[in-house]
């Protein structure tokens, strides 16, 4: 696989902070949105690895995001360490949690797995809300010392992380492991009969996906400086959003999560700024999701040819 296009796009993204030099533009506001877009790219790629390539549709990625975020936050509150260590610490913590969750949930197939992951996400949220002594409950965790007031460095950190994730997922999918994943998605029984230890490879997909998502969570704690259970374990705003990013962009495609994150986050932001319509952004999201599922089931990237045909009238299909 060639890396010319990704590197070119990365180079373009790297100069985005120059937006500061443009007069009349609220650079901080736009940088904030860019950071969110890149963060959602990571979450999308993580979901895509497990659900898009391996076919295990997860409705509970907020669980991993939240565990990553709380690892970071608790390190700061309980041990007085910089919350940045949470990035490193989240690997074993989220990995172990994913192993445990996988042990229970991966025995289940298709929609049952999806339901079990919803349950996991909700259980974790309620536990975090109720263990007030440990997590601070609904009060959440506040990181009092911000590393930078300015957003440029946060942007570069998350961009580097996203580039790394992109490369990592790409390598995995090109490797034998990736072929196993797709085989499991297409027909689990056939894969099993061909000698693929499906439980093992599903677990690997889950743990890898979880760790990537946990990174995004740990970054979120550092960047936003405040987390609480309702935000980081949110069913709609994290778990379903992760699904939407990939569904809109394109399931099991290289660029789907990237494009999906750009479309979804920028759209959310634009809708929010329109007066009166702003409160309806979930409605518009829902409608978009329904339209995409019915008309572009493989997302903007997956159904690019179909879209092009639609946009170029006069040519018959």
């Amino acid at each position: 696989m060639t890396y010319r296009k990704p590197l070119l796009i990365l180079a373009l993204l790297a100069v985005l902070p120059l937006i500061r030099a443009v007069p009349g533009v609220n650079a901080n506001y736009w940088l904030h949105n860019f950071i969110l877009v890149v963060m959602w790219t990571i979450i999308g790629m993580s979901w895509n690895l497990l659900s898009g390539y391996c076919g295990q549709v997860s409705f509970g990625h907020a669980a991993f995001f939240g565990i990553g975020a709380y690892t970071s936050g608790l390190l700061y509150v309980k041990f007085g360490l910089s919350a940045w260590w949470g990035m490193l610490a989240s690997i074993p913590v989220v990995g172990a949690a994913a192993l445990l969750i996988g042990f229970v949930c991966l025995r289940l197939r298709g929609p049952f797995f999806a339901l079990a992951t919803i349950a996991v996400g909700v259980i974790l949220r309620i536990v975090a809300e109720n263990l007030t002594g440990f997590t601070g409950g609904d009060m959440g965790i506040m990181i009092r010392e911000r590393t930078w007031v300015e957003k440029t460095w946060y942007y570069y950190i998350i961009l580097a992380l996203a580039a790394g994730t992109f490369w990592f997922v790409d390598r995995i999918i090109a490797s034998k492991l990736g072929y196993y994943f797709v085989a499991i998605r297409e027909d689990q029984d056939a894969a099993e009969s061909l000698g693929i230890d499906t439980t093992r490879y599903k677990t690997i997909a889950l743990v890898l996906s979880a760790v990537l998502c946990g990174f995004a969570g740990a970054f979120y704690t550092n960047y936003m400086g405040y987390i609480d259970p309702k935000v980081v374990f949110a069913l709609h705003d994290i778990s379903v959003m992760a699904i939407m990013v990939v569904m809109v962009g394109g399931v099991a495609t290289r660029w789907g999560p990237v494009l999906g994150a750009v479309i979804m986050i920028l759209m959310a932001e634009i809708i929010r700024t329109i007066p009166k319509v702003g409160t309806a952004h979930h409605t518009l999201f829902g409608v978009l999701l329904i339209v995409v599922i019915i008309f572009l089931p493989n997302g903007v990237v997956g159904d690019a040819a179909k879209l092009r045909r639609l946009l170029r009238p006069g040519r018959s299909a």
Binding site: A114, A116, I123, V240, F285
Partner: protein, 309 residues
């Protein structure tokens, strides 16, 4: 065990059973949709929310009792369900996509739209329906003067429970005694065989989605006098609904009733003995245990006993 402890336990069991009867009604709607369509309707709670708002509006405008508004909410929700099935779910069943879970994700989208529209129309205020019998209750000491323990039976809870039992009985009659009901059960059992026997499977699907929505709409009216109402109220009932569906065994109506009762009692026990906030965790712990140890739910246990004989 002292008398006071027994009193708490019995009272917990009573309120658990009353809650369970209502839960069963929610689970029933979800389970018949699951049985016939083979999809999990994650917009179920949001449909219930619509039913609750219908009853609320009727009460606020015309002072119609929530129990009476069942007569309005049920047909309304039926047609809403029919429309959703016909124009949204059916097209997706025909679309060829990488992930077969598309339909589940679609229902999540529908739920999001419904909840958000309710927020826009009604704002996110918490509302209650001040029916005049809200705090009425029967006490054991009224019947039996020197009873050593005191138990109470809340009036609206009991009425809601009885309504739920009545609706469940009517549903049972419909499914087991009428031609339409038998066709629905045949479709759930084996779609292709039913088609060969001359059942209009497409029509049964549409009708079932409507029926499931109507049932949960009725549940919404029954919950209104005893619960508060806000636009996002549906989410938790969706979760309750699918826990019951799994607990009872997918597509099994008897299982859903038993599952609903078990869940109601279990939640009530968790709320009393562990803490109010933990009740939902208890619900999901049951759910995970069932998924891992009894994946077929209550229905599979019932079936095993029957075969054992």
């Amino acid at each position: 065990m002292s008398a006071a402890k027994i009193e708490v336990l019995l009272q917990t069991l009573i309120s658990g059973l009353l809650l369970g009867g209502l839960y069963a009604l929610i689970g029933l709607g979800m389970t018949i949709i699951m049985g016939v369509m083979k999809i999990i309707n994650l917009a179920h709670g949001e449909l219930m929310m619509v039913g609750m708002y219908v009853a609320y509006l009727l009460f606020a405008w015309a002072h119609i009792d929530p129990y009476l508004s069942i007569l309005v909410a049920v047909p309304l929700l039926f047609f809403l369900g029919v429309a959703l099935q016909k124009y949204l779910v059916n097209p997706v069943l025909k679309v060829d996509a990488i992930l077969p879970e598309n339909q589940v994700i679609l229902t999540v989208g529908i739920g999001m739209v419904l909840a958000n529209l309710a927020t826009i129309i009604f704002k996110s205020d918490y509302r209650t329906t001040p029916v005049d019998y809200a705090t009425k209750a029967w006490y054991l000491t009224d019947l039996w003067k020197d009873s050593p323990i005191e138990l109470s039976l809340s009036f609206p809870w009991t009425v809601s429970f009885l309504f739920a039992v009545g609706i469940t009985a009517a549903l049972w009659f419909f499914l087991s005694r009428t031609d339409m009901g038998k066709s629905i059960r045949a479709t759930a059992q084996d779609k292709d065989a039913a088609m060969l026997m001359g059942v209009n499977v497409e029509r049964m699907r549409v009708f079932t989605f409507g029926l499931g929505s109507a049932l949960v709409g009725a549940a919404g009216c029954l919950f209104l006098p005893i619960y508060y109402l806000y636009p996002d109220v549906g989410g938790q009932f969706t979760l309750t609904g699918f826990v019951i569906t799994i607990l009872g065994g997918l597509g099994s109506t008897v299982g859903a009733i038993i599952g609903g009762l078990i869940l109601g009692v279990f939640e009530s026990l968790t709320a009393t003995y562990v803490g109010m906030g933990w009740a939902p965790v208890g619900r999901f712990v049951v759910f995970m245990l069932v998924l891992v140890f009894v994946p077929g739910g209550v229905a599979s246990l019932l079936r095993r006993r029957r075969f054992g004989k």
